[in-house]
């Protein structure tokens, strides 16, 4: 069985993200401590998803974004002012190290089992016993094993939305990431699936650093150790979640948080 590699610290310095002429994120600094859950809240268009998708360079490779600044994941500088690492081998390596779960559940049109082993197979693991063990471990971590262990050959698209999203989380965990990015993973999910996903973050954060973009400030309050507030492409403030919610220092943050009462 593979050993968990341990969580990575993320240091972003002066990160800007542009899509053509449109600036989505301006010179943002943010440090995420290893082994924590870091919540990012903010209204639509605040740049939180652009920031998240830049942490594994998907914005640059797939969305046509240009990114400047510096991002270090662990000891590895994945983005620097001089260059963006774009060769396929190091991108593959980066994606295995920094996994992502998308806002809408995206199961591939194949069985539950084949969904989970997709990443490991691409990484070259073909031994059946190893893959079986990976599947069980990943599905257990996503609190799904008991629901589906007897029907792993079922088409993943036949699962309910909440199950699909937990499967996607399991699939991401199967590549042994050190960081997992979550882009509003619980929007539109049932409360039970939401609770299970949050439970997974709490259990695994000693091994994996989580960055959680969420539309629900309650969710940030429930699971995030630290929370950052983004507004119009800028990070307004970051603090321990309890402090941010009890005593926001910036008026913008206070206004946004007050919105939940109004």
């Amino acid at each position: 069985m593979t050993v968990q590699p341990g969580p990575d610290r993320i240091v972003a310095t002066g990160v800007s993200v542009r899509y053509g002429d449109r600036v989505a994120l301006q010179r943002t600094d943010l440090t995420v401590d290893a082994g924590t859950v870091h919540g990012i809240i903010g209204p639509a268009g605040s740049g939180k998803t652009s920031f998240l998708r830049t942490l594994n360079l998907m914005s640059v490779e797939l969305d046509g974004a240009q990114a400047d600044g510096s991002i270090c994941i662990g000891a590895d500088e994945i983005l620097s002012d001089e260059r963006v690492r774009r060769d396929p081998a190091s991108l593959s390596q980066l994606r295995r190290r920094v996994g992502i779960v998308f806002a809408t559940p995206q199961p591939l049109p194949r069985s539950i089992y084949e969904n989970v082993v997709y990443g490991p197979r691409i990484a070259g693991i073909s031994d059946r016993t190893t893959l079986d063990a990976i599947v069980e471990r990943a599905l257990r971590a996503a609190h799904m094993w008991d629901e589906v262990s007897d029907r792993l050959s079922l088409m993943a698209t036949r699962l309910s939305g909440g199950q699909q999203q937990r499967l996607c989380l399991a699939r991401t965990l199967a590549t042994n990431p050190r960081v997992v990015l979550l882009d509003e993973p619980c929007s539109g999910l049932d409360p039970i699936s939401t609770a299970r996903i949050e439970e997974t973050l709490r259990t695994l954060k000693s091994q994996i650093t989580f960055v959680l973009v969420t539309n629900s400030i309650y969710q940030a309050e429930r699971v995030a150790d630290q929370t950052s507030f983004f507004l119009m492409g800028e990070r307004i403030e970051t603090a321990a979640t309890v402090d941010l919610f009890a005593r926001p220092t910036r008026p913008e943050t206070r206004d946004y948080l007050d919105g939940r009462f109004g």
Binding site: S92, I100, Q106, L108, P109, T175
Partner: protein, 288 residues
């Protein structure tokens, strides 16, 4: 205000009539299409089925095809068509992958796409002349299954490219993103996720191409020739069923034998179509 009322009036009376007219017209068009197809099949079968027997399918022709069977032409048809598919599938699928996945819409892809579409509009006899001048003469392949297959392969290329490209484009972008987010390279994602999902569409393109290739006469007569012996190598000349039919009728050898050949050809095409779509449906269901 008045204008809206008039609109509403027209909206309440006209649509009912329009609905009925449209229904009759659409039903009529559908019925006519199916009717013509059925008529052609029945016509060919009535005149051809009488000639068909087991020996007709398995014997060699006698007296230039006036008597005997058509076994060599069945074999030749299958060989030439197979060769065409072997040429067109890798080339066509490759071009489709390039167009759908590796270029952004621009001048180059525009030129390629327009070129492909022009290729589809060229009459088959021109392909025959090209195949004769290039494969048969210039490259010295002679009248052969190889020359015929290459020519037909180029001829059905547009069909394969077009259908495959559409099938590839229909695969949700999210699948590629998921695959690449899990460490797949772009090519990994295409190979392992996009192509399996697009496969039914690609197969449709190939089946359409087979349909065109198997019944082609003009392009084949110039490139594969008219030899009546059973071919034993790709360099042998071969007479396909449609060429045999053409020869039998045009040279007045035997109408009965000609329609027998036509009936076998029609049945072959039907069998290939039904088999391909059945396999495809089973394959698609296993993906869902």
């Amino acid at each position: 205000m008045t204008a809206t009322m008039v609109e509403e009036n027209r909206a309440s009376v006209a649509p009912r009539l329009a609905q009925q007219v449209a229904r009759v017209a659409l039903w009529g068009a559908t019925a006519l299409t199916v009717g013509i197809l059925v008529f052609i099949i029945v016509f060919v079968m009535r005149r051809g089925l009488g000639a068909i027997s087991w020996s007709f399918l398995t014997d060699a022709p006698q007296r230039s095809g006036a008597e005997g069977g058509i076994f060599p032409t069945i074999v030749s048809t299958l060989y030439v068509t197979l060769a065409a598919v072997l040429v067109a599938t890798p080339l066509g699928l490759g071009a489709a992958i390039y167009l759908a996945e590796y270029t952004t819409e621009g001048r180059l892809s525009g030129i390629i796409r327009r070129g492909t579409e022009s290729l589809a509009g060229i009459p088959s006899i021109i392909f025959g002349l090209f195949g004769f001048a290039f494969f048969v003469t210039a490259l010295g392949m002679g009248w052969s299954i190889l020359s015929g297959g290459l020519t037909l392969g180029i001829m059905i290329l547009p069909t394969v490219i077009r259908t495959s490209e559409e099938a590839l484009r229909a695969v949700p972008r999210e699948y590629r993103h998921v695959a690449q987010s899990l460490g797949a390279s772009k090519w990994d994602a295409i190979r392992s996720v996009v192509l399996p999902v697009a496969a039914p569409g690609v197969v449709t393109g190939i089946v359409l191409g087979i349909g065109r290739a198997i019944s082609e006469t003009a392009a084949v007569i110039f490139t594969a020739g008219v030899a009546l012996a059973t071919p034993t190598s790709p360099f042998d000349s071969a007479r396909t069923m449609s060429v045999h039919f053409y020869t039998l009728t045009m040279e007045g050898i035997s109408d009965e034998q000609a329609y027998g050949t036509a009936a076998v050809l029609v049945v072959t095409i039907l069998v290939i179509n039904v088999t391909a779509y059945t396999l495809m449906r089973r394959f698609t269901r296993s993906l869902r």
